[in-house]
Symmetry: C2
Subunit: 128 residues, 2 copies
DNA sequence: TTTGTCAATCGTTGATTAACGATATTGAGT
DNA sequence: ACTCAATATCGTTAATCAACGATTGACAAA
């Protein structure tokens, strides 16, 4: 892919980069893999397969997707392969969501409420 | 929607909830919609379609996906529909990624490095 | 060299997604 | 009732995804 992935403090990543990271996490099994790698804080071999309860080839495919997105890194160890999280790869999405949360606090509109405050009477055109 | 997703400080959401939110953001067009809703901090009608440069039906489908995930809320206004972000729906994923970042700081393992330069304190089960 | 183990790849199936044009629906205004 | 504008939905096509079993590949140890 392209290298639009420079992690700069104020700048947020492109839509494509954010979508790529989100897509890597867009399956429960892959979220669980990330959790697993995080909880052990160290690499695991094929115990991931046993933990997920899926076929070995399926888990390998999920790992391939995570590696393709750069979220997970694999190093060849003895007979196994040593997986670990690439936390800095998750940073763009984390910063994006944090920025949303911050803007939320300083904004007038709360949650589902579309136009800031909406009483029964018509507020006449705040949202049109 | 069962409430397995209570937003408590230490508790993180389930794999399914996190994957659902991530999936909603797993397409560049949908990330752009979220950005659009964030930047205007108010609701927009069909200008989203014009901004994205996609067909109206395609944008409507993306909005449907975002609404189904609870990330976007739509209210019927005059002839249009008023869309807005549901920031609290994004919170679980944001907290999950933040938790990963925090654990990263307090952890010995840096980014791509798999086994964190450990001597021999591990019972040699996995990873060296 | 052979063996054993773990992981990646292949090939397939069914399900889901993305995108579009065309059509239907909704509701305010005339 | 009719009309107009904004969305949603339908129907289709091509593409991608998820899952599995079976096979292949890599490599340390016997």
């Amino acid at each position: 892919m392209e290298n639009t992935e420079t992690v700069s403090p104020p700048e947020l990543a492109s839509n494509e980069v954010l979508a790529t990271i989100a897509k890597a996490l867009a399956h429960p099994a892959r979220v669980q893999i990330v959790r697993l790698l995080l909880s052990r804080s160290s690499c695991i071999g094929g115990e991931i397969t046993q933990e997920l309860g899926l076929a070995q080839s399926t888990v390998s495919e999920h790992l391939r997707i995570l590696k393709a997105a750069g979220v997970v890194v694999g190093e060849i160890e003895h007979p196994r392969i040593c997986y670990s999280l690439s936390v800095q790869r998750l940073a763009p999405l984390s910063e994006f969501l944090t920025a949303i949360g911050l803007q939320y606090q300083t904004s007038a509109l709360k949650d589902g409420l579309c136009c800031p405050l909406e009483p029964s009477t018509e507020p006449s055109g705040s949202c049109s």
